[in-house]
Subunit: 227 residues, 2 copies
DNA sequence: TGGCTGCATTTTGGATACAAATGACTGTAT
DNA sequence: ATACAGTCATTTGTATCCAAAATGCAGCCA
């Protein structure tokens, strides 16, 4: 009689605000170092300061913002070294997880990843770099789902949240969105072929090369400024 | 004139409560699944509910507790699979970090680790398993400090926080505190000898064997109950 | 006995108002 | 120009109130 179990998830204001703020930070609407004022946010959302403050605490623990006592919440700013280090961790965890996932990937798993990749193509045509981070994260996570290691998956998602703004910046400035897209296609093909070792090597390269590209871009920029 | 820079770190109540609760959870004072009531905690600390709630949000993001809407905060309960998975991640990250650290470890670094190990010995004699987790964490982190990768270090610390209650349980029930101590001594010796490959292999074994011991203990226990 | 309904209690979620502490800014006096 | 005092905005914390949801229980019915 009733539809097949759609548990209307009632959300608390705190979790709604948390999700919204997280999205807005990830999308780049709030920039590095920008201060998030409790009063302004609570007015904007039409809620009191209580849920806003709880949301900020949660985002701080996730590493997206930084709360300085009596000063406020600042959107986290990562140094190049930080980004490189986080990408190193990602390369380590994601290659290991992909190795566990590939033997267990069903065609349904792969089709799900392919569907995300298709959305990628649409974003690519429209030069929509704004949703790039979310799609990138979804594609990667879709590949790892079959490994059935939820804790590792959650950890990787957090790392994506911390790094995506910077990889997106790299994508934007070095015009390598097409190349990333091609790499994703190749990665999916390797998974379909169950070429585990090749796929693992390739995803390592895929993740680390983003860091290298960012590094050399910043170096060039610095050279220009110095000249 | 003034004493050599002892910056009296003024703490906000929220962060003080957070730290206290974290310690109490790690020490095992609050057990798995136990409910933490806001009112009771705020009375106990003599503060209002606001800083308590913010502390709980932060601890939830760290994975130490779980907040269920309109039900409350429960101390996280990990399944055996969860613990094994987290130890897998630790083995991966810690072996990598140790590899980076050993070439850079100065004798000061090693002495710091040795000092912690000495405290370990005292705790061992007194059968003080309550502080085992903190000492274990401190020893491991001391070994990695020289790698100068703060983000990785913070991540590992979080993983320790999640798993320590369970490894301590294993230590307690299988009476392997001495063995862990010996392994730590051997690990330190390998670091002093700059035997990188051996040390990395050994720390992998050291971390994973805790999981194996826990697994077989639980299996035996289950067999006894079933019989 | 077993299960259900409805009600009261408890606890969490959230709003509002207010007080206190801190940091930033500004103007002034030396 | 530098040091200092005062002002002001913002964060931090408290107290109080109410709403919403979960829990527990008594009583009822089959």
């Amino acid at each position: 009689m009733s539809p097949p179990l759609q548990p209307i998830k009632r959300q608390t204001l705190t979790s709604a605000v948390t999700e919204s703020l997280r999205q807005r930070i990830l999308s780049g609407e709030f920039q590095d170092g920008q201060q998030l004022r409790q009063e302004a946010l609570s007015n904007e959302y039409g809620v009191s300061r209580v849920p806003v403050r709880e949301a900020l605490r949660q985002l701080e623990a996730e590493g997206l913002i930084q709360i300085i006592d009596h000063k406020g919440a600042l959107v986290s700013t990562l140094s190049l070294d930080d980004v490189l280090e986080l990408l190193d961790i990602r390369a380590l965890l994601e290659s290991e997880l992909l190795r566990a996932a590939i033997p267990r990937q069903t065609s349904a798993d792969l089709d799900a990843a392919a569907a995300t990749l298709k959305e990628f193509g649409v974003a690519l045509e429209k030069h929509d770099v704004r949703h790039w981070g979310e799609l990138n994260s979804r594609f990667h996570l879709a590949l790892y789902r079959a490994a059935q290691r939820p804790n590792t998956l959650a950890l990787i998602e957090q790392l994506h949240n911390k790094t995506d703004r910077y990889t997106r910046m790299q994508i934007l400035f070095t015009h390598t969105m097409e190349r990333a897209h091609e790499e994703h296609n190749k990665l999916l093909a390797l998974c379909r072929a169950k070429a585990t070792d090749e796929a693992v090597d390739f995803i390592r390269y895929h993740i680390l090369s983003a860091g290298h590209a960012l590094e050399s871009y910043l170096n060039e920029q610095q050279a220009r400024d110095g000249a």
